[in-house]
C-alpha cells in the first residue's frame, strides 16, 4: 500500500536519516496511515453493506415477481401480489414536475447572483436560497398539508382546469381533492431549487473571465455574453446540478408522503393522488404484515437505491468535468 501514499512518502525520504533515528515515529506514522485509511475505507464498506443488506432483503420479492415487479400495477398485500409500477411512475412524474418548475427558476437565480446582483444583495439572497435546503423535509410536509394544499385546491387547481387548451389536455382533470401529484411535485420543486441553484452558481462563477471579456469585447450586451458565452461554457455543470436535483427529488420521502395521497394507481391527471417509491416504503413499512410484503418494499428500496446511484454518479461526473476544465 506504500504506492498509494507515494506523494507524502517522498517527503519522508528526504529526511529519512532523521526519521530512522527516531524509531517510534516510523511506527506511529504507519499506524496513523493505516488508521486513517481504515476510516476512509468505511465509506465503500458502508455502501457495500447497504447494497448487500437491501439486496438480500429484496431478493425473495424479486425472485417471485421477476422483472414484472417493475411493470405490474397490482399491489395486494393480503394476496401477496406486488407490483411497483404506480410507485415508479409517481416517482418519475413528481420529479419531472419538480425539475420543470425548479430548473428555470434556479438557473435564473444563479445567473442573477453570479452576473447581475450588486455585491450587497448577493450574500443575503444566496443565503436565503441556501436556507431552503436547511428546512427539514417534515416541515415542508407540514406546510404543504396546511398551507399549500388548500391553496392548490381552492385556487390553483380550478384555475388550471379552466385554462383554454391546457385545461382540456387531461393533465388537469378530475376533482380537486388536495392530495395530488401536483402538490407533491410543487413541494419537491421548492426543495430541489437550492441544490440546482447552488451548483449552477458555482459552475457559472468558475467560467473564466477571459470568456466573458471576449464576448463583451465583440460588442455583446451583458445578456448576450451570458447566453452565448457563459452558459454554454458551464452547460454540462448546470446539467450536472439539475441531475443532482433529480437525485434529491427521486429519494425525497417525508414531504411527498404527506402530500401525494398514497394511492396505488397510475392516473394521467396531475390532480389525482399517487405514490412514489420513497413514500410507499415510508407509508407501508411499519404496517407490513407478511415477509413477502416487507421484501417487496425492500425491493422498491433497492430499485430506488440503484436509480439514485446512477443519477448521482452521472451528476458528479458532469460537475467534475466542468471543474476540471476550469482548472486546466
Amino acid at each position: 500500500m506504500s504506492e498509494a501514499a507515494r506523494p507524502l512518502v517522498t517527503a519522508r525520504q528526504d529526511d529519512s536519516g532523521i526519521a530512522a533515528a527516531i524509531e517510534g515515529s516510523a511506527i506511529g506514522d504507519s499506524v496513523y496511515r493505516w488508521l486513517t485509511m481504515a476510516f476512509a475505507l468505511c465509506i465503500p464498506v458502508l455502501l457495500l453493506f447497504i447494497a448487500i443488506e437491501v439486496g438480500v432483503a429484496a431478493w425473495p420479492a424479486l425472485k417471485t415477481f421477476g422483472f414484472g415487479f417493475l411493470f405490474s400495477s397490482d399491489w395486494d398485500p393480503p394476496h401477496n401480489v406486488f407490483g411497483a409500477a404506480p410507485a415508479i411512475y409517481g416517482t418519475i412524474i413528481s420529479s419531472i414536475i419538480a425539475l420543470v418548475i425548479a430548473t428555470p427558476l434556479a438557473l435564473g437565480v444563479a445567473i442573477f447572483l453570479s452576473e447581475f446582483a450588486p455585491s450587497w444583495l448577493r450574500q443575503p439572497v444566496a443565503f436565503f436560497v441556501d436556507l431552503l435546503a436547511a428546512i427539514p423535509s417534515v416541515v415542508y410536509g407540514l406546510w404543504g398539508i396546511f398551507v399549500l394544499q388548500p391553496i392548490l385546491r381552492e385556487h390553483v387547481m380550478p384555475f388550471l382546469s379552466g385554462l383554454p387548451v391546457i385545461g382540456q389536455s387531461g393533465l388537469f382533470e378530475g376533482p380537486a381533492y388536495g392530495p395530488s401529484m401536483l402538490g407533491a411535485g410543487l413541494i419537491l420543486a421548492i426543495m430541489v431549487l437550492p441544490f440546482i441553484s447552488a451548483v449552477s452558481r458555482e459552475v457559472l462563477m468558475a467560467v473564466p473571465r477571459s470568456q466573458r471579456e471576449a464576448a463583451l469585447a465583440l460588442g455583446a450586451t451583458k445578456w448576450e455574453m451570458i447566453a452565448d458565452a457563459v452558459v454554454p461554457y458551464a452547460r454540462s455543470g448546470i446539467i450536472g446540478g439539475v441531475i443532482l436535483g433529480l437525485g434529491r427529488a427521486l429519494g425525497e420521502t417525508m414531504a411527498v408522503t404527506m402530500l401525494i395521497g398514497n394511492v396505488h394507481k397510475i392516473s394521467a391527471s396531475l390532480f389525482a393522488p399517487g405514490y412514489t417509491m420513497a413514500s410507499l416504503i415510508a407509508n407501508e413499512f411499519a404496517e407490513a404484515t407478511g415477509d413477502l410484503h416487507i421484501s417487496a418494499l425492500m425491493a422498491v428500496g433497492a430499485v430506488l437505491f440503484l436509480v439514485t446511484l446512477v443519477v448521482n454518479a452521472l451528476a458528479r461526473w458532469l460537475v467534475w468535468r466542468v471543474s476540471r476544465e476550469a482548472r486546466s
Binding site: 506511529g28 468505511c42 415542508y140 460588442g219 452565448d228 420521502t253 418494499l297 454518479a313
Partner: protein, 318 residues
Amino acid sequence: MTARGPAGGVTLPPKPSDRGRKARPSGVQRAAAERTRTTIGRRRVVNVVMIGVTFVAAILATLPLIFILGHLIKAGASSINPAFFTEIPKPPGETGGGMANAMVGTLVLILAASGFGLPIGIGAGLYLAENRGTVIANGVRFLSDVLNGLPSIVMGIFAWQFLVKPMGKFTALAGGIALGAMMIPLVTRTTEEMIMIVPVSLREAALALGYSRWRTSLVVVLRTALPGIVTGALVAVSRIAGETAPLLFTVLGNQFWSTSLREPIAALPLQIFSFAISPYDEQHSLAWAGALVLIGIVLVISLAARFATRSRFGRGGD
C-alpha cells in the same frame, strides 16, 4: 437571432484598401451600420428584460422561505409555552402537553450520530487530504459523494434490516447509527477541503522541526483546520437533526420519557410527522410549535456554522 447582428457586422471582410477611405464607408458597410443601429435598441431591451427576469426569479426563489417561516411563526408561536418544553405529549384530544421528550430524544440521537459519524468522517477526510490523487482516495471521494446522495429512506430500511431486525426491537442506537452514517460523507468532504487549505509551509515547518508525520497531521494540521472542521460538523448535524425518514423504522418514536439507547426513543421530526397527520387540531398546533422549534434549532446551528466560517475566512488573509 438578430441579436447577433453586430457579430455579423464585425465579420465583414475589411478590405486593405478601405484603410485610406475610412471617412466614406462603402454601401455594404453603411447597410451593416444601419442594421446595427436598428438592432442595438432591441438588444438593449432584451438585455434589460432578461436582467429583470433573473431578478424576478431570485425574488420568487426567496418567497417560499419567507412564506414558510412566516406561517411557522404565526401558527407555532401561540403553542410555545413553558409546558411545551417541559411536558410529554398528552393523549389525543386533550389540550396541553409538550414535546420535551422529543427534544431530548433528538439531542440523544444527535449525540449518538455524532459519536459514530464524526470520527469516521474526520479520519476519512484526513486520509483523502493526505493521499490525494491515489486510486483509493479518488474512489473513496467519489463513493462518499454517492453516499451523500443516498435517499434517507434507503438508509432507514438498511438500518432496519441490519440492526433492528437482528436485535428484535426498535432502538435509539439503530437510529443514531443511521443518522451517523448520513453524516459521514458531509464531514469527510468538509474535513478534506479544510485540511487542503492549511498552508503547506506549516506542515513543512513542523516536519523540519523534527515532528513525525502523524504528530504533524494531528497536532499542527488538524488543529489549524479545526474551526473549519467544526463548521462542517455543525452543517452535518443541522442536516440530520431534521431527518425523519431514517427514524421511522429504527427509533419508532416514544410517547414517554426515554434516553436509553436500547429503547425506542422520541424525536422531534417524528413527533411533528405523527401530529401533522393526526386528525386532532390540538396536535396540529403542537406540530406547528414543534416545527418552529426544530427549524429554530436547525437555523441556529447553520447560522453558527456560517459565522464560524466567515470569521475564519475574514482572518484568512494572513
